[in-house]
Subunit: 168 residues, 2 copies
Amino acid sequence: MHFSVKPIGLVHVNLSDEEVKAKWLEGVEGVIEIYEDYAHGLEGIDGFSHLIIIAYLHKSLEEQRRVLKVKPKCLKLLGVDITRLPEVGVFSTDSPHRPNPLALTIVELVEREGRYLKVKHLDLFNGTPILDIKPYTPSRRIDRIKLPLWYQKILEEVKAKHPLLKDF
Amino acid sequence: MHFSVKPIGLVHVNLSDEEVKAKWLEGVEGVIEIYEDYAHGLEGIDGFSHLIIIAYLHKSLEEQRRVLKVKPKCLKLLGVDITRLPEVGVFSTDSPHRPNPLALTIVELVEREGRYLKVKHLDLFNGTPILDIKPYTPSRRIDRIKLPLWYQKILEEVKAKHPLLKDF
């Protein structure tokens, strides 16, 4: 069984994929264009400081969709020795390699001009199709969360190397 | 252009759709079954207190996918007079009526038994196909958020009627 989804817009980022990857933690600035057919769906969105973007990682290869266990490779960019990290299931991570290549990105809405949303903290490549936008409302903020030991250890190691980095 | 996505599992809830709807704010308890083919993707998930579930609202009708503006009808259940509410774009709301019927639900992971996740705070009907699971990590918690005036007014009205309800 399969379901069909369609792009409602796309990401514009003035950077190469490698440049976006290198900034995965803080994200980059960019513009989300919503296609004319869906532009009315944006009414009332001004005033939300943050939006949740669901995107389709169209550059994901069929073989990457068969991956079920990964090592958090993006941590290599932060100087973490990933040979010591455990291999974990893709649903325990934010890896782009997963059965359905869906990305969930929380962006800051800087301003809107019609059907163009200027945003911060994008971790999506130029041209990535957008499937949905939802407002970041108070119920999305879970104050008391717990993390597995393996994830806590990664956070600690990264913070030791980069004290000013925010949590991820 | 369309993309194809496939269920990795489904929701088991021992309640009718109407009963789930009536509890949309606090959510209900249920079990998320991940299909055997994807079960290895769950490794390492124990210890995360909360998970982000992306589901496909399979009961959404084609005509509901053409809706671009809505009134938050679920508020009627809380006694809000929705005739006074503004009609807003679907991307400014969590409405199930949207071009791609994707749901984003944050659940509390109570316990895992193999490929079965017992969870709290589900707002999905029994049988809803699951497309993806991501861990709720610190970066998903945005502390300083702003909301549009129309949304703030709804929150205030609901809180006046139901002082003990949490934000939504």
